[in-house]
């Protein structure tokens, strides 16, 4: 199963198996990686699952849609490599992707 490397704000690393087709948010939330709240469960309704994608992985990701773009605009500490992790589906091509988590989602 492809893996995702989640790195907490304090540097703590979590390597989690995420089934293909699931969102990158789900991998973190179900295994209780701190730093992703995802209050809405992945409906792109709350902007509390922001991650910073390691720049080398950015080209591998599908582009943001309008909804994600506008939601992100309201996330704290937004950066050019910010994404909403609920909007990115796991694929074998993303095996090993590195995501850094913000200090707070609120």
């Amino acid at each position: 199963m492809p893996k995702v490397v989640y790195i907490e704000h304090n540097g703590k690393e979590h390597v989690i198996d995420v089934p293909e087709g699931w969102s990158l948010m789900e991998g973190a939330v179900k295994h209780l990686v701190p730093g992703i709240d995802a209050d809405c469960g992945g409906a792109c309704a709350c902007a509390t699952c922001q991650v910073f994608v390691d720049p080398q992985w950015l080209p591998a990701l599908p582009p943001k849609d309008d909804m994600e773009e506008t939601m992100l605009d309201f996330a704290p500490e937004q950066k050019p490599n910010s994404r909403l992790s609920c909007q990115i589906r796991m694929t074998s091509a993303l095996d090993g992707i590195v995501l850094r988590l913000p200090k707070s989602q609120h």
């Binding site: 089934p19 087709g21 699931w22 789900e26 939330v29 179900k30 295994h31 209780l32 701190p34 209050d39 809405c40 469960g41 409906a43 792109c44 309704a45 709350c46 902007a47 909804m67 506008t70 939601m71 605009d73 309201f74």
Partner: protein
């Protein structure tokens, strides 16, 4: 010895409480009991992607299976509580076992309101609250089937949208004169009525259902004095708070377990969170909220209070509903006396209705309009005054709306 915490109810609030208790440093034993066969799962997708078959069951679960064991939470499934013995601080289970507690959290949720009209117990009459309910509904959810939806609220309309997409012939019966009357403004009701009709859904407003008929299974719906053929009926007419255990234990209840703003009941050893509660909201009005936000936030506050770090619960309520490609997001609680301001054009399927009260933003309803929702929620929380003309002015970006007003 460390305190023992028992949680009755294994839903969104119960799971959040476990997570928050551990995050707040509680290391004692936690036992969570749930009457369903499944560990805590998300209910919102049930009437949307899961019903459509676009969301596998494993994804519904809030935590990985191993989580409960890893975090030291004893999860008892298929288990129901029979009574709370407050004097001896035990929860008695229906199998006679007794679980001692030092602190108890009631996260018992709500159950569907059932119809009692003639024929209401015929096979083919469905409700939607659990995984098992949807699995039953999915088996008969086939293109061409005639689906009668009773109740034009969130559940009924989300199911109608999925059904229309799947090619079922859908009729929605609503007793009130507009859709989602309890939840949204008349403008939104009218917009959604038009969208459903565009998708081929037939709407029967001001049409109360009188009964169902059929030989061995439902075949017809009697409503508004007429008879409509139907293969499947889905009833979504609201829920009833599961406050029976609390009531029987002598805790004050009134359409929900009454809790203070620390999620504490009248008994300082017993807390309650989620759909089962009634609390005094941030506007000073007593209310019962049925939503994920309240389950999460109230459970967080219950956990804080249980570990001796109470914090007043004053989050702005928020809700969402997915119907077709329309994302409805609501923050705050509207009142009929609010001044309504439209931003954007419903014809573009992207707009928001703001509710102003005493010059301040009190609620926002947005359709496919995330900035309006997110900034609106923030402005409600911070009590920011804003002029109606400015809110309606699309040349002022939402992001500036709040910031400039605050400056």
């Amino acid at each position: 010895m460390s305190e023992r915490i028992v949680i009755i109810g294994a839903g969104q609030a119960g799971a959040q409480a476990v997570q928050s208790l551990r995050a707040e440093g509680f290391t004692g034993p936690i036992t969570m009991i749930g009457d369903e066969a499944y560990p805590p799962y998300q209910r919102p997708p049930l009437s949307k992607a899961y019903l459509l078959g676009a969301f596998e069951r494993a994804r519904l679960f809030l935590k990985a299976d191993a989580y409960y064991q890893e975090t030291g939470c004893d999860l008892l499934l298929n288990t129901s509580a029979a009574a709370i013995h407050r004097a001896e601080r035990t929860v008695e289970l229906t199998d006679g076992r007794k679980l001692p507690y030092d602190k108890l959290l009631l996260a018992t949720g709500a159950r569907v309101r059932r119809l009692t009209c003639p024929g209401a117990d015929l096979p083919g009459v469905h409700y939607l609250k659990t995984i098992a309910d949807v699995d039953g509904l999915q088996q008969v959810f086939q293109p061409g089937k005639r689906l009668a939806v009773v109740g034009g609220g969130y559940i009924g309309l989300e199911v109608a949208a999925v059904a229309a997409k799947r090619g079922l012939d859908v009729t929605v019966f609503e007793a009130m004169d507009r859709l989602m009357a309890r939840a949204v403004s008349p403008q939104l009701s009218a917009f959604y009525a038009a969208e459903h009709q565009k998708a081929g859904v037939k709407l029967k407003l001001k049409t109360g259902v009188e009964g169902f008929e059929g030989g061995g299974k439902v075949e017809r719906v009697r409503a508004g004095g007429e008879v409509y053929p139907a293969d499947i009926v889905l009833v979504g007419i609201g829920v009833i708070a599961n406050d029976d255990l609390a009531r029987a234990a002598g805790l004050p209840c009134g359409d929900g377990i009454i809790v203070d703003r620390n999620a504490m009941t009248a008994d300082p050893a017993i807390f309650a969170a989620g759909d089962c509660t009634r609390h005094t909201g941030r506007e000073g009005v007593e209310l019962r909220l049925e939503c994920v936000q309240n389950a999460i936030d109230q459970a967080k506050h219950a956990a804080l209070a249980m570990v001796g770090k109470p914090k007043i619960y004053s989050e702005v309520p928020w809700f969402w509903s997915d119907q077709y490609d329309l994302k409805l997001q609501i923050a705050g609680l509207a009142r009929p006396t609010d001044t309504l301001v439209l931003r954007g054009d419903p014809a573009n399927r992207k707009f928001a209705v703001f509710h102003l009260r005493d010059g301040k933003l009190a609620a926002v309803e947005s359709v496919n309009a995330a900035p309006e929702y997110l900034m609106g929620k923030k402005m409600i929380a911070e009590g920011i005054a804003v002029a109606a003309e400015r809110l309606a002015d699309l040349s002022v970006p939402m992001k500036q709306m709040g910031e400039e007003q605050r400056a």
